[in-house]
C-alpha cells in the first residue's frame, strides 16, 4: 500500500503492507471491472484511451462512477499510487461486519489527530478503513454531538461504505445500510456470535516535529524566513545588539571611527570562535558589529558623544561584566555588551 503523500518533502514514505485488492498495475484492468476509487466510490472501468494533453500523449483509464455516472479519468501510470482497489470480497465484508458489531474501545479525543487519521483511512485504508471511520465517529457521537466537519466526514464515510457493501453483496444500498446499522446499533436483546475482528488498518506514522541538531541550532534561531520576505540582507544579530545595550549607546557611538574603517567580513568568524580568545582578538569584530548597527549615524555622533560617554564610562564598566557572567549569551549577542565596557575603559 502506498500511504498518503508525505507532509514534508524530506520525509520518506513509510512502506506498509498493501491493503488487500489494491491494483498495482493498470494493465490488469479490463473494461467492465468494478473498482473502488478512494473517496469517490465504486466505479466501472470503461476502457483505456489516449489523449493529447499539453503536448503530451497520455494513456488514461476511463471509469464511470456507478452512483451518478460521472466520468473519471486517471493516467495509467498513476493508477498504482491513487489507491484504486478491487471491490471488497465476501471475506473482507464479513470482517467489516464483525468489526462493526464488536465492542469499540475509547475513540480518539484529539480532533486534529482524529480528523487526519480518518482522512488517511478513507484514502488508503480499504473497506475496513472506511468502516473504522464510521465506527469511530459513531462511538464518538454517543459521547458528544459531532462538529460540522466531522458530521460531514461521517456521512461521506457512511455513504462510501454503504455503496461498497451494496455492490459487494449485490443488494440495494438501503438494504446494505440496514445491515450495517443492524451491526452497529443492534436492537435490545440481540447478541451476535462474532469472530475476532480483523487487524486494524496500519497508518503511516506522521513526521515528528523537526528539531534542529546541535550544530544547526544557531542557524535555526536566525532562520526566520527573512529571505522569503525580501529581507535576507538584514543583519539581525547587529540589530539585536543595538537593542540589548541601550545604555551603552553613547560609548558605542564614540568608538565608531576606527571600527568603521575595518572590514566587516571577520565578524561571523570571530563570533563562532567562542569565548576562549584574548581580548585583543575579540575587540575588532565587536567594533565591527557595533559599526554595523549604526552605520549612518556614526560619523556625526562620534565627536558629540565623547563627553557623555566619558561620564557614563564608570557605571558601564561595572555592569557589563556582571551581565556577561550570569548570562552566557549566544555568540552573535556577545559583542554587544563587551565593546561598550572596553571602550569606556579606554577613554577612562
Amino acid at each position: 500500500m502506498r500511504g498518503p503523500p508525505p507532509r514534508h518533502p524530506d520525509d520518506h514514505r513509510e512502506q506498509l503492507p498493501a491493503v488487500e485488492g489494491v491494483i498495482e498495475d493498470a494493465a490488469t484492468l479490463a473494461p467492465g471491472d468494478r473498482v473502488v476509487y478512494p473517496n469517490q466510490g465504486v466505479c466501472a472501468v470503461v476502457g483505456v484511451e489516449e489523449k493529447d494533453i499539453a503536448g503530451q500523449k497520455l494513456e488514461l483509464v476511463r471509469m464511470r462512477r456507478e452512483e451518478d455516472g460521472a466520468a473519471v479519468l486517471v493516467p495509467k501510470n498513476k493508477v498504482p499510487s491513487i489507491g484504486l482497489r478491487r471491490v471488497a470480497t465476501g471475506g473482507q465484508i464479513e470482517g467489516v461486519f464483525h468489526y462493526l458489531a464488536a465492542q469499540f474501545d475509547d475513540p480518539e479525543l484529539d480532533w486534529k489527530v482524529r480528523h487526519r487519521d480518518n482522512a488517511d483511512r478513507l484514502i488508503a485504508g480499504g473497506v475496513l478503513g472506511v468502516a473504522e471511520v464510521v465506527k469511530g465517529l459513531h462511538s464518538l457521537s454517543r459521547i458528544r454531538p459531532l462538529p460540522t466537519k466531522e458530521r460531514e466526514q461521517y456521512d461521506n464515510a457512511r455513504h462510501l461504505l454503504v455503496h461498497e457493501v451494496a455492490v459487494s453483496l449485490g443488494v440495494a444500498p438501503a438494504l446494505a445500510e440496514d445491515y450495517i446499522d443492524y451491526a452497529l446499533m443492534p436492537p435490545a436483546g440481540v447478541k451476535f456470535d462474532l469472530k475476532p475482528p480483523p487487524t486494524p488498518v496500519l497508518l503511516p506514522s506522521r513526521p515528528k516535529r523537526r528539531r534542529p541538531a546541535a550544530g544547526e541550532g544557531e542557524e535555526g534561531m536566525e532562520d526566520l524566513g527573512l529571505a522569503d520576505l525580501g529581507l535576507g540582507d538584514l543583519d539581525l544579530g547587529a540589530a539585536l545588539e543595538g537593542v540589548e545595550a541601550p545604555a551603552e549607546e553613547g560609548e558605542a557611538e564614540g568608538a565608531e571611527g576606527e571600527a568603521k574603517a575595518e572590514g566587516a567580513e571577520a565578524a561571523p568568524e570571530a563570533a563562532a570562535e567562542g569565548e576562549g580568545e584574548g581580548d585583543e582578538e575579540e575587540e575588532a569584530p565587536r567594533k565591527k558589529a557595533a559599526a554595523k548597527a549604526k552605520p549612518a549615524k556614526a560619523p556625526k555622533s562620534a565627536a558629540k558623544a565623547e563627553k557623555p560617554a566619558a561620564k557614563k564610562a564608570a557605571p558601564a564598566k561595572k555592569a557589563a561584566p556582571a551581565k556577561r557572567a550570569e548570562k552566557p549569551a549566544p555568540a552573535a549577542k556577545k559583542p554587544a555588551a563587551k565593546p561598550a565596557a572596553k571602550r569606556g575603559g579606554k577613554k577612562k
Binding site: 456521512d155 440495494a172 451491526a183
Partner: protein, 181 residues
C-alpha cells in the same frame, strides 16, 4: 410531490395527519394517490411480505419527474438475511429512487383513546419521514431525536420525535433544490 398509496385501508384522519406532516417536513406537496393491491409475488410462507419484492412488483401510479411514492401496508415486512442475520423491518426504500414502503404492523396499537391515536399517528409519520428521507439520499443518523435514526435502535425513546435534525434537514433541502423539477 409525494404520493401516498395505500395497500391496505387506512383511516382518513390518519391520512390527513400524515400528508400534513410530510408537507411540513420536506416542503413538498403531498397527496393520497389511491389504493393498490398487495402483489402476490411478494408474499412469503411465514405470512410476512418481502419488502424488496413489494417495491419491484407493486402496480405503479402515475408520477412525474422527482415524484416520490410512499406505499403503506398493514402486513409485516421482511428483508433478506444479511451477514449478521435479518434486521427488523419497519419499512424499505429505494435509496435515491422513487419508491418506498412502510408497514404499520410494528407501530403501537392505534386503540381508541386520543392519546393512543396520537401516539400511533406520530410513529406513522416518523416512519414515513424516514422512508421518504431515504428517497432524498439521506442516510441513517446517529441522533436518536432525528427521524432518520434507525427504528430498531435501543437509543430510540418511547415517543420519538418526527422531525429531521439540522444536518439531515439541510441535506434534504439541498437535494430537493437540486432536483430536476
Amino acid at each position: 410531490m409525494i404520493r401516498i398509496v395505500t395497500l391496505d385501508p387506512i383511516d382518513p384522519s390518519d391520512m390527513a395527519f400524515l400528508t400534513a406532516t410530510l408537507y411540513r417536513a420536506f416542503g413538498l406537496g403531498t397527496e393520497h394517490a389511491g389504493e393498490r393491491p398487495m402483489p402476490r409475488e411478494a408474499e412469503r410462507k411465514d405470512g410476512r411480505v418481502d419488502a424488496v419484492k413489494v417495491l419491484a412488483e407493486v402496480a405503479p401510479v402515475r408520477t412525474f419527474a422527482d415524484d416520490k411514492v410512499l406505499y403503506i401496508t398493514a402486513s409485516p415486512l421482511a428483508l433478506p438475511d444479511g451477514p449478521l442475520g435479518e434486521p427488523p423491518c419497519w419499512g424499505f426504500s429505494q435509496y435515491g429512487g422513487e419508491r418506498a414502503v412502510i408497514s404499520t404492523s410494528r407501530l403501537p396499537a392505534r386503540g381508541v383513546s386520543e392519546a393512543s391515536i396520537e401516539n400511533f399517528r406520530r410513529r406513522l409519520a416518523r416512519e414515513a419521514i424516514h422512508a421518504v428521507g431515504h428517497l432524498w439520499d439521506l442516510h441513517h443518523c446517529y441522533d436518536p431525536k432525528c427521524a432518520m435514526h434507525p427504528s430498531w435502535s435501543p437509543g430510540l425513546p418511547a415517543n420519538p420525535e418526527m422531525d429531521l435534525d439540522t444536518f439531515c434537514r439541510e441535506k434534504s433541502e439541498r437535494r430537493i433544490r437540486l432536483a430536476k423539477t
